[in-house]
Symmetry: C2
Subunit: 270 residues, 2 copies
């Protein structure tokens, strides 16, 4: 048993979809969430800048004596090498490997699509992880840089015409390549799950990367005997820009009220 | 005569539309441009964070011994108070006052619209500047948070269906309020000038805030006898993320090739 918290971070609010899943699977765990809202988004930045920001984010979480750090962000997960993750000096997982495992288990025709930010797709990280598990699988990536701003600006109703049109453009290559499984490689995308599903004609299995890492964490903590004892569950939120309006938008991602304190930290202290 | 450079900055690349105009009006001037590409965009951040970033940006430009600093960014221009600008310790202008003057000169019915980022519209800065010039004018603001990501992701062809649809939604309140003049309060917007114009039925005078500040600078330098001597014109570019791909996208904003060096600076040194 280990009552230390699980640290979760993201460039902004997308990672809250992972927190939602963690809360469902592991209600007794204490979660410390950091959203780098002062520098969001990461998805169009260079690999070097993403790595630098990510290591600062991990350092911040480590100050909270966490037993595990989860990068609930496709962009960060794709930019970090195993060496860098090891350097963090704390048990660590991104979303890439758990999502790759789920996709390999789900595919029938071995054709797996990956959508994410520009940086995620450019990195090729999902493809590498998939080929490690199944060398015969073929992967097809497409960057969807407008999905994050669309989600963050609330264009998420299942019948939203604009997001549907953008999804049609971004997902056409996936239909053309006959993928039977698609990794939602960015933790913002579950908020437009229905729109993506519809653009694909509901014929493709969608893999929610943020959900998969939550499942992986459940297994890992159980295996390592690191699960928290009952009754101490809860979430503390930290952000790097003003927390004004945070609860409102965060509620969208968490699928309900934000229970827990929201504290602003100074970027200079990262 | 004064051969020191003009410093121009923006959260990212939008300010290059102002550089384009400055080069046209003042070809002999040396321009030092800083685009904070490592932290772009500013438009959804809190006023405090925008002010902090802006003061760092100004400090960076001052190291280049500039004779004038232009915030070629609607968001920064709206967030800085006269006191903060004075604190910069260098002649300074944002885009708000020059744009407000042009709008007041252009309007016939006294009904002026302002579009910009969330932070710009929330600040009310354009409205205050307009009422100082013409207390009878009425202003109507509407935030257009998707325009910047649409522009930065290249959804700018005049017949782009998605941007046209978004423009229709964002600009409907302007038609309903019968504005006859609309300030493009963000330096990204000139790239979708035609789409905005069409959404308004081409009945509204558009004021390009970035162009207006360039005109203001021309007048200011002439009045103060600070114009550069002939032959020394050129632009140096500084960015806070990798310069990879900068020239390509910058060419879009500048309406041509990027002539001049592009240097990456470390955010920690700001």
């Amino acid at each position: 048993m280990d009552n230390r918290a699980i640290g979760v971070f993201d460039s902004g609010l997308g990672g809250l979809t992972t927190v939602r899943e963690l809360r469902k699977l592991l209600p007794d765990e204490r979660i410390v969430y950091f959203g780098d809202t002062g520098r969001v988004p990461y998805g169009n930045r260079s690999r070097e800048t993403i790595r630098k920001y990510a290591m600062q984010d991990i350092r911040f979480l480590k100050r909270h004596e966490v037993k595990l750090v989860i990068a609930a962000c496709g962009t960060v997960s794709s930019a970090l090498t195993p060496e860098l993750s090891a350097e963090a000096g704390v048990p660590f997982s991104g979303v890439v490997v758990p999502a790759a495992q789920a996709a390999c288990a789900a595919t029938v025709n071995g054709r797996i699509g990956v959508i994410g930010t520009t940086a995620t797709v450019r990195s090729g990280a999902y493809g590498r992880a998939i080929r490690t598990i199944n060398p015969d699988a073929r992967t097809f990536g497409n960057a969807c840089p407008l999905f994050v701003p669309l989600v963050e600006n609330g264009f998420i109703e299942p019948d939203n015409e604009i997001t549907a049109k953008v999804a049609e453009i971004y997902l056409k290559p996936m239909i053309d390549e006959r993928v039977d499984t698609l990794i939602l490689g960015c933790t913002h995308y579950p908020l437009i799950y229905d729109i993506i599903d519809r653009a694909l004609g509901s014929r493709v299995t969608l893999i929610d990367a943020g959900k998969q890492v939550a499942r992986w964490a459940q297994g890992y903590l159980a295996r390592e005997d690191l699960l928290a004892g009952p009754g101490g569950g809860g979430t503390e939120f930290y952000v790097s820009d003003s927390p004004d309006g945070f609860s409102e938008i965060a509620g969208l991602f968490l699928g309900g009220d934000v229970k827990g304190d929201v504290t602003q930290i100074d970027l200079d202290t990262l």
